[in-house]
């Protein structure tokens, strides 16, 4: 996303009126761009990461930590450099949902040499330093998935009050003032999602039950019928979109490779979610989940009661199974077709229109399925478009389908090719960890392409894994469906039969393309049964020309991931849980008090800055050889 152009958002009534207009033109725009770009070939590997940060303000006297609502002020400064020198800057800065959040990406994408893996962490460090320079001495830039006391009384600086009876959000807990004020998009989205849904969004996370945990958790249920008494209840988009994530996007050499990688990474999404789990605390409580995923999913769930299947269909067209923020529903590559075992909801007329325009079944149903959603944000300047050239209406729907993976067509008039975005990961505390995770995923894509690996399992099993991945301590304790034999694209004929018929009539033995594995087994391998993703990466690397510094760095990253997967060191979520529950002030009541919150965030800041070592979270070797630039002897190679 480029710098957001400002504009005038339409009211919800106007937006709703134009929903069909956006849909029709969005589809035409996709058809046109597909015709133009389907045969685009020969793009090299380019990729980039996105790290989101929150700005935290510490009151060291009162021992309190708040989110600092200064993102707009800081962004304005950060964007100055880019406006002066758009192609020369080392980092790009964008607003995010929270008035206390910013998002940083590398100024230019990384390229297709292995040596590029060695500049990722340096770039992340640079970004952190660049933004930190603009902070006040009592502020800290933190790559933290969820602010533990978000939505608690006085969680912002300056203080702000929720407005349950007016404004965009109408939350009992989350003030509109905590939404990024610098662009109308964010408040408009909040308002429109609430209005489309017909009521406030509702997020209920099971509370972690400790000795003194009180049920009901609080008196939310008195104010809202949506609140479940034994859950941590949240009622605003900000609880989800106000979380930070770690995402990465890479360019494929053509549309076929993009479809292959979109599919192949899909079964990895829940595994990476479990591995990067980092958000057990919400609204001042310890919950029984480790991840943000369902929180965000519910926080932007714009489905009406009819669409959620609670009332019979009268005004709406479809019953829709998932929120517009959720895991993907179908594979896109021919190998994936037989694993598309979840019926897709879409408008047959749109599907047919795509088919009539020479778009194949898999892509047509994917796009038609995305387009069951209405626009939830429309600007008056963007209503009328040239469908031959513009793609805003397509992007309007595409970019508000926030799924685990995103299949991205080339933007109009650019040198950029077909891309895939990987979106499940939670952001980690340190640049070392974040660099390790993005490098691991991108390395894995190279291994998949080099060895023609196949990770596909039925999409329904990926959905099961997604829910499993968020459970408390899932990385260490849960098992996940994962493909047993990843080396061949040719499944045994009997397994194919099973998938077609539905597995019920078959002996389970014949159907088991997949098995139950722990994250450890998937990442590190299981003697005699499964090679493991890291051994596969290491074998791949032994066939590549890797410079010594880069290989040293990658080894540190892979060892770190191996340790996280094996349980030798904590996931961020487990570590945070431990910190809170072992805090002297913790009263075994599942509550994260102001002081516990302060100590936790102070400790995280110190770990991130390297002032405090934390081997139980990071292991002992976190010193990579990351550097700013690629050696000239290598840069000539690509």
């Amino acid at each position: 996303m480029g710098l957001l152009t400002e504009g005038s958002p339409l009211s919800w009534e106007e937006t709703k009126e134009l929903a069909e207009h956006v849909r029709q033109h969005g589809i035409i725009q996709f058809i046109n761009l597909y015709k133009r770009l389907r045969d685009r070939q020969g793009d090299i590997l380019k990729w980039g990461d996105e790290v989101e940060y929150i700005i935290v303000k510490f009151d060291n006297e009162k021992r309190q930590a708040k989110v600092s609502l200064r993102a707009q002020e800081i962004l304005t400064e950060l964007n100055k450099k880019e406006l002066e020198d758009p192609t020369g800057v080392k980092s790009l800065w964008r607003p995010e949902y929270g008035a206390y959040m910013i998002e940083g990406t590398p100024g230019k994408p990384y390229g297709g040499l292995l040596a590029h893996f060695n500049i990722v962490e340096a770039n992340m460090k640079h970004r952190r330093e660049e933004a930190t320079q603009l902070l006040k001495p009592d502020e800290c830039l933190m790559s933290l998935t969820s602010f533990p006391r978000l939505g608690c009384e006085n969680f912002t600086d300056p203080p702000s009050k929720p407005t349950p009876n007016e404004g965009a959000t109408r939350s009992l807990f989350f003030p509109d003032d905590a939404i990024f004020p610098g662009h109308p998009r964010f408040k408009t989205l909040s308002r429109n999602i609430r209005q489309r849904r017909g009521e406030k969004v509702a997020i209920n996370l099971p509370v972690y039950r400790d000795e003194n945990t009180k049920i009901p958790v609080d008196d939310s249920h008195k104010f809202s019928t949506a609140a479940l008494p034994d859950h941590v209840y949240m009622d605003a988009m900000g609880f989800g979109m106000g979380c930070c994530c770690l995402q990465l996007t890479f360019q494929a050499c053509n549309i076929t490779e993009a479809r292959t990688l979109y599919d192949q990474l899909t079964p990895l999404c829940p595994i990476m979610l479990a591995l990067t789990a980092a958000s057990p605390l919400h609204r001042g409580c310890i919950t029984d989940v480790d991840c943000r995923w369902n929180v965000i999913s519910c926080s932007v769930d714009c489905r009406t009661k009819e669409e959620r299947g609670l009332e019979s269909l009268k005004n709406n067209k479809f019953v829709i199974k998932k929120s517009r923020y959720d895991s993907i529903d179908s594979y896109l590559s021919p190998q994936g077709e037989k694993f598309n075992d979840v019926p897709l909801t879409y408008d047959p007329k749109i599907y047919q229109q795509l088919i009539d325009n020479d778009i194949d079944h898999l892509l047509a149903q994917h796009v038609a399925h995305l387009f069951i959603r209405d626009t939830v944000s429309l600007f008056s300047e963007k209503v009328h478009q040239n469908d031959e050239e513009d793609t805003d209406h397509f992007e309007n729907i595409q970019s508000t389908n926030w799924q685990t993976m995103r299949f991205k067509p080339p933007p109009p008039n650019s040198t950029i090719g077909w891309r895939v975005e990987f979106r499940p990961c939670e952001v980690q505390i340190t640049d070392f960890e974040n660099a390790a995770i993005v490098c691991f995923v991108v390395l894995l894509t190279r291994v998949i392409l080099s060895y023609n690996l196949d990770f596909l399992i039925p999409i329904s099993k990926v959905d099961e894994n997604m829910q499993n991945a968020q459970q408390r301590n899932a990385c260490k304790e849960r098992k996940f469906w994962f493909r047993k034999d990843i080396t061949t694209h040719i499944s045994p004929p009997e397994a194919n039969e099973c998938c077609k018929k539905g597995a019920t009539n078959c002996e389970p033995k014949d159907c088991e393309v997949y098995d139950c594995m722990t994250v450890d087994e998937i990442i590190n391998g299981k003697e005699g049964d499964f090679p493991g993703l890291i051994p596969l990466i290491n074998t791949y690397l032994s066939g590549m020309d890797v410079d010594a510094d880069t290989h040293c760095t990658i080894q540190q990253y892979l060892k770190f991931i191996q340790r996280r997967a094996s349980g030798e060191i904590f996931t961020t979520a487990s570590w945070i849980r431990k910190f809170v529950t072992e805090h002297p002030e913790y009263k075994l009541d599942s509550k994260v008090s102001e002081k516990i919150n302060y100590d936790l965030l102070k400790t995280i800041c110190a770990i991130e800055k390297g002032e405090m070592s934390c081997p139980e979270l990071l292991g002992y070797s976190t010193m990579s050889k990351t550097k700013e630039n690629i050696p000239t002897a290598l840069s000539k190679n690509c």
């Binding site: 023609n452 066939g543 020309d545 890797v546 010594a548 290598l634």
Partner: protein, 254 residues
């Protein structure tokens, strides 16, 4: 087929990236991988009942090998092809044979780089044998001059040896390959030398003796001596994709 009756013999494993049995055992070291690739190749060759070759050189290969197809999928300009030759004899004929066999197998007129790992057969004296290295290097230089190889390099040599060869050579080494185990502790002087001279400092994970003496004999059932071993790597440039990988093993008396 009577393999023993052939004076000259080459084992060509073909593209081992397509061998599921090898991929499944990821994490093996290169020696284990090479022995497994040889065993699979010999087994597939034996069971294929191919007609005996007419000339005196026998090439043991896999009829199902997809190397040719994998290379033809890409335009040659998008490929970066490299060889690593493992020698323990400095005879000029052997390095020539190894390089030529590489060209013939890959069906290409030239390759991007060739890296030499030379270890004397009997490691009586420690240290590198600079004279032997230079003798082999001279052959590689000719290939560079004839534009058959773009860059040449050395593996597992001491820093002083590398500098010595660098000073002496007409065609300077463009690559030094060090063992992965030492990649985090590269001497600063070597790092600086590489930086100053645009030498690529790369890693490998090969043991000093990549193929134990008896491994080929055990696989073939005939005690043919190993003359040279070469690994080919075919990369798709700028995409980080390994297209093909395999080994050639030159056997026979010399």
């Amino acid at each position: 087929m009577d393999i023993g009756s052939h004076k000259k013999c080459v084992i060509n494993t073909g593209n081992i990236l397509s061998l599921n049995d090898i991929t499944r055992k990821s994490g093996q070291n290169p020696t284990e991988e090479l022995i497994e690739a040889i065993n699979i190749t010999v087994k597939e060759f034996r069971s294929s009942n191919l007609a005996p070759t007419q000339n005196s050189k026998l090439i043991i290969h896999r009829p199902t090998d997809d190397l040719k197809a994998k290379i033809e999928e890409q335009s040659l300009a998008d490929l970066k092809i490299g060889l690593k030759v493992f020698l323990n004899d400095d005879s000029k004929v052997l390095i020539q044979e190894a390089v030529e066999e590489g060209f013939a197998t890959l069906k290409v007129p030239c390759v991007q780089n060739v890296i030499l790992q030379f270890k004397k057969d009997k490691l009586i004296e420690t240290g590198d044998d600079i004279n032997s290295l230079k003798k082999i290097w001279g052959v590689l230089e000719e290939y560079v001059k004839n534009e058959k190889i773009s860059q040449i390099g050395l593996a597992d040599v001491e820093e002083a040896t590398f500098r010595n060869v660098y000073e002496w050579a007409t065609v300077k080494p463009a690559i030094i390959q060090i063992n992965l185990a030492t990649c985090c502790v590269v001497p600063p002087t070597l790092q600086q030398f590489c930086k100053d001279n645009d030498v690529q400092l790369l890693t490998h994970s090969d043991p000093s003796e990549i193929l134990p003496k008896d491994a080929v004999g055990d696989s073939l059932g005939v005690p043919l001596p190993v003359k040279w071993i070469s690994r080919f790597l075919v990369h798709i440039i700028c995409r980080g994709v390994l297209c093909s990988k395999g080994y050639l093993i030159g056997l026979g008396e010399y």
